[in-house]
């Protein structure tokens, strides 16, 4: 009888763990788009903007004071095109940065790699004198996410220490996986969504 009880309990727990909900199955299911804006800005009184033709990477070189690196044109050009297309659709006119634009758009890219150290020496609390484990076969223990961060700045609205006021921004975030085409499709779709969820930018 006791064995029957144990078997029944084991069977139920086993079945439950086998059918635990799995969550996302595809890379694009983890894509996110975030926007935020300054409600005191009257976007309808602005008409022109300027944007660089490259996307700067926020990486260790930059953080350590070195020269900036830039996103490969194969990725950057379609993303910048999509930003310009959306700005145009909303009634904005692109001008050179020397033509006194009403707004500046500052696009940057940030890559974050998260690494798991499951096998590291963190298990001493449970099993003293044990220094983790090693894998005799290759395993994936990290994932990378990429964020395209675009900030709209008002060059005519400076703080006392001459910093421009950020009035709108968006972040498109997702896993850095898949082919170039898939990646560009996912990120350009994200850019479209950033404008869709920012109706206050429409000035036409």
């Amino acid at each position: 009888m006791k064995i029957l009880k144990v078997l029944s309990l084991t069977a139920i727990v086993f079945l439950l763990t086998q059918c635990y909900p799995e969550g996302p199955q595809y890379v694009e299911e983890m894509d996110l788009v975030y926007t935020n804006y300054d409600p005191s800005t009257d976007f309808t009184s602005k008409h022109t903007y300027a944007i660089p033709d490259k996307i700067m990477k926020i990486d260790d070189d930059l953080i350590n004071g070195g020269d900036p690196n830039f996103v490969d044109a194969i990725y950057a050009v379609p993303m910048l095109d999509r930003i310009n297309q959306n700005m145009s659709n909303n009634g904005w006119t692109k001008v050179d940065k020397d033509k006194n634009p009403d707004m500046l758009l500052a696009p940057v890219a940030y890559e974050l790699t998260t690494t798991y150290y499951y096998g590291g020496g963190y298990w001493d609390w449970w099993y003293g004198g044990w220094y983790g484990w090693y894998y005799p076969y290759p395993v994936t223990t990290s994932y990378s996410t990429g964020s395209l961060i675009v900030t709209m700045l008002d060059p005519n609205n400076l703080s006392p220490d001459d910093k421009m006021r950020a009035v709108w921004g968006f972040v498109v975030n997702g896993l850095l996986e898949g082919s170039t085409t898939d990646f560009v499709n996912r990120y350009t779709k994200g850019i479209n969504q950033a404008y869709t969820q920012s109706p206050y930018l429409k000035i036409n």
């Binding site: 009888m1 439950l16 969550g23 996302p24 969504q193």
Partner: protein
């Protein structure tokens, strides 16, 4: 405070059970499904098909038994791509929502009549641990709360062998409102086996 509550409930169960040493005891293991209500339904609207219940009871008087009841139910819902706005910020993406409920009860049952099929009613009090996750992208928002819990139940016991019965019951777990979270309910429908021993 939460630990004290649990320990107190365990002791209460022990106090009830100890004086009756020769009575029959019942161990049940059941598959459980759950229907969310209240604050739980706001988070996950879908029925849970993943759950189990473990119960141990001892007869303390004719038709009356007391004991402990533990269960685990997992609620899950995938929300289609949508935008969520708070103040000036908007976040768009697919949300994966999970709720793991762990009700822990001290309870009493009263069986009505005798026969091959015996109806019963019961009431339990205890605590509910609620682990709630909202996943978006590579992030998760995790909340975990302990609620005071009250659980009325009713069901039928079907005798199938001298030491084995089947049990079908409905139990409504009502988790009271706390400062950090709203009240919520979970209507459990469970089916399983009861092992009787002396």
């Amino acid at each position: 405070m939460k630990k004290i509550l649990i320990i107190t409930l365990m002791l209460a169960a022990g106090v009830f059970i100890t004086p009756v040493v020769s009575a029959q005891s019942f161990t049940s293991i059941q598959y459980t499904m759950g229907i969310p209500t209240g604050g739980l339904k706001n988070h996950v609207d879908k029925i849970s098909w993943r759950g189990f219940t473990f119960e141990w009871q001892k007869e303390v008087a004719p038709s009356v038994s007391v004991g402990v009841n533990f269960a685990w139910s997992t609620f899950y819902e995938r929300k289609d791509y949508a935008s969520y706005t708070r103040d000036n910020a908007t976040l768009s993406g697919i949300q994966y929502r999970y709720d793991n409920l762990f009700p822990m009860l001290v309870n009493a049952h009263y069986t009505i009549g005798t026969g091959t099929v015996v109806p019963y009613v019961g009431l339990g009090i205890g605590t509910m641990y609620d682990l709630r996750n909202t996943d978006m992208g590579t992030w998760t928002i995790e909340e975990n709360n302990w609620h005071f819990l009250m659980s009325p139940e009713a069901g039928f016991i079907f005798d199938v062998a001298p030491d084995v019965s089947l049990k079908l019951n409905a139990k409504y777990d009502y988790a009271f409102k706390i400062k950090e979270a709203d009240a919520f309910g979970n209507l459990n429908i469970s089916f399983g086996v009861v092992f009787n021993s002396w």
